[in-house]
């Protein structure tokens, strides 16, 4: 375990993140990058972008509260130090996505109201459940909820969003790529640390599996609800065309799905399939059997 934690120390984090892929960025993107004009001008597209970003802020606020709260529950000093880096990563994510809301035209004095009104109730429920475990200083449940379920599942969503924005919105894509790099580290820590703890405490396996079943439900329900909101692919194309935005040359694809043409049901199916496939592999590595949640 000591060797595994050596790869997650603060020196490594400093060299790879602040002095690595975050160097010469501001709020996660290259200096001077802006949201595309069409997002700011078209009210429907702008509302959709705000709605998505609010969920990112809510998820990252939950992750910030959980990772900082878990420092006191961590059983060893190396895990405490890793969680310090994760705490700052999550605070940075809160900051960059909040900044994006301001860039999208949300006024500073309306920020909290917008976040409260538009937060997905399934995500709020997930956050409550996770923070209850953190408050009880249950390190195993907290890390499973935070680093395996929340981050593991959100990871695929970020990748899909990154693919969709790579050409259409370089600013947002850059912000997402830094977030994805951070989350890869967090998921790696979660897998390794929980894998070793489950081996040490096999009696926890059953309640971790139960927790996975319950928490996965709220995450999948969040993704489903978000994908079903907003304009259809046809409407988006019409709105872009009306403002003179030509379709990009190479259609954005992710997991074989053309993102600009896919219906919400197709996106949900591709996302759900990818999440579950990777999630099951991850759980197997930890020594946990995937428990299918009830259909959201």
């Amino acid at each position: 375990m000591k060797d595994f934690l050596d790869g997650y120390d603060i020196q490594y984090w400093l060299e790879s993140a602040p002095q690595g892929y975050l160097k010469n960025t501001e709020y996660g993107h290259a200096p001077g990058e802006r949201e595309p004009a069409v997002l700011l001008e078209d009210p429907v597209l702008r509302e959709q972008a705000i709605g998505v970003t609010v969920q990112l802020v809510v998820g990252e606020r939950c992750a910030l509260a959980a990772s900082s709260g878990l420092i006191n529950a961590a059983p060893d000093e190396g895990s405490k130090r890793f969680l310090a880096t994760q705490t700052l990563d999550e605070a940075r994510h809160v900051e960059v996505f909040t900044h994006r809301l301001l860039d999208l035209g949300v006024k500073q004095n309306e920020l909290e109201d917008v976040i409260r009104e538009r937060a997905n109730p399934n995500l709020v429920k997930f956050a409550e459940l996770l923070l209850e475990k953190v408050d009880r200083k249950d390190f195993v449940a907290g890390v499973v909820g935070q680093n395996v379920i929340l981050e593991g599942m959100a990871f695929n969503v970020f990748e899909m969003m990154h693919a969709a924005n790579r050409e259409a919105n370089a600013k947002f894509a850059h912000t997402l790529s830094g977030t994805i790099a951070d989350e890869r580290r967090h998921v790696g820590f979660g897998e390794n640390r929980i894998g070793s703890l489950i081996k040490e405490h096999p009696e926890r396996k059953a309640d971790v599996e139960k927790l996975q079943r319950e928490m996965s439900y709220w995450m999948l329900a969040t993704f489903g609800a978000q994908l079903r909101q907003g304009p259809s692919p046809e409407e988006v194309k019409q709105r872009l065309a009306a403002r003179g935005v030509a379709p990009s040359e190479g259609a954005a694809t992710w997991q074989g799905v053309r993102l600009g043409d896919a219906s919400p049901a197709e996106l949900e199916s591709a996302l759900g399939g990818t999440i579950l496939k990777e999630f099951k592999i991850r759980l197997e590595r930890i020594g946990i059997e995937y428990q299918t949640p009830v259909a959201p």
Binding site: A65, S68, G69, I71, D76, K80, L88, E95, Q108
Partner: protein, 258 residues
């Protein structure tokens, strides 16, 4: 006339606080003094020819520092949930990683000095006063008492560490000195945050000053007792030991908490 985009101090108060509490500001602040100093110091600094008693004394002192930094890490992390708004939460997240880094560089220094199991050694050499201070600090943090916890963490603990590290750096070997000077730079930021945040809250609620005075009266003896032990280990003559206590008391008073 100042350009707000260029001059930080020309920003309106809210934007100023938002900026100086941000990840971006932290990143700009630390990049200069952390680059090229893995684990807190340049490669190639020479280790002195230690005698066994000298090395053992330094190990004990560093173990005390590690206890202080571990409580600072747990305290800063725990305070995030109680923080009243996003900028203060983000600032505390930067402080959390600073404290984690301090712990890491000090543990690394212990390893450089030949300590095979730093965690066990830290536990073995911890002083009773520090443990009592830690218990009180984490009790304030655990209860979500923002004012008392922030005062204990960012004023009392940080002032104490600032005074000790500053004094120790003057006589330390080159490697330990560089490690300590890097820590001191972070602590200036933490002290400034505590002073500003509590100063604003006292201005709104003057009764808070009396409450913090009571917290201080409880914690000062633990800090001063801990100093006494550290200075004895450093070999500081008894007559000079009171100077460190005065440094600490002056630092707290300079911050407006006489």
């Amino acid at each position: 006339m100042s350009d707000p985009a260029q001059d930080l101090h020309a920003l309106p108060p809210r934007e100023f606080l938002e900026h100086v509490h941000s990840f971006e500001f932290w990143l700009g602040s630390v990049q200069g003094y952390l680059a090229g100093r893995p684990y807190g110091h340049h490669d190639g600094l020479a280790e002195p020819a230690w005698t066994d008693p000298e090395r053992d004394r330094l190990v004990t002192i560093l173990c005390h520092y590690c206890v202080g930094e571990t409580m600072a890490l747990e305290g800063a992390g725990g305070l995030i949930r109680a923080a009243p708004n996003r900028p203060t939460k983000v600032f505390l997240a930067t402080q959390t990683v600073d404290e984690g880094r301090h712990l890491e560089v000090l543990v690394h220094r212990l390893a450089e000095l030949g300590v095979a199991d730093p965690e066990r050694e830290i536990e073995r050499r911890t002083s009773a006063e520090l443990i009592r201070f830690r218990d009180r600090l984490l009790a304030f943090v655990g209860s979500g008492d923002w004012d008392a916890a922030l005062f204990a963490q960012n004023v009392v603990l940080e002032s104490a560490e600032f005074a000790v590290f500053h004094r120790h750096a003057r006589s330390a070997d080159p490697i330990t000195r560089e490690v300590l000077l890097g820590i001191i730079k972070d602590e200036r930021r933490h002290l400034g945050f505590g002073e500003n945040e509590l100063g604003r809250r006292i201005a709104k609620n003057p009764a808070l000053h009396g409450r913090l005075r009571a917290v201080r009266a409880e914690l000062d003896p633990l800090v001063l007792g801990s100093f006494e032990r550290t200075l004895a280990l450093l070999g500081t003559p008894a007559a000079e030991r009171s100077e460190l206590g005065r440094d600490y008391l002056a630092a707290v008073e300079r911050l407006g908490f006489a």
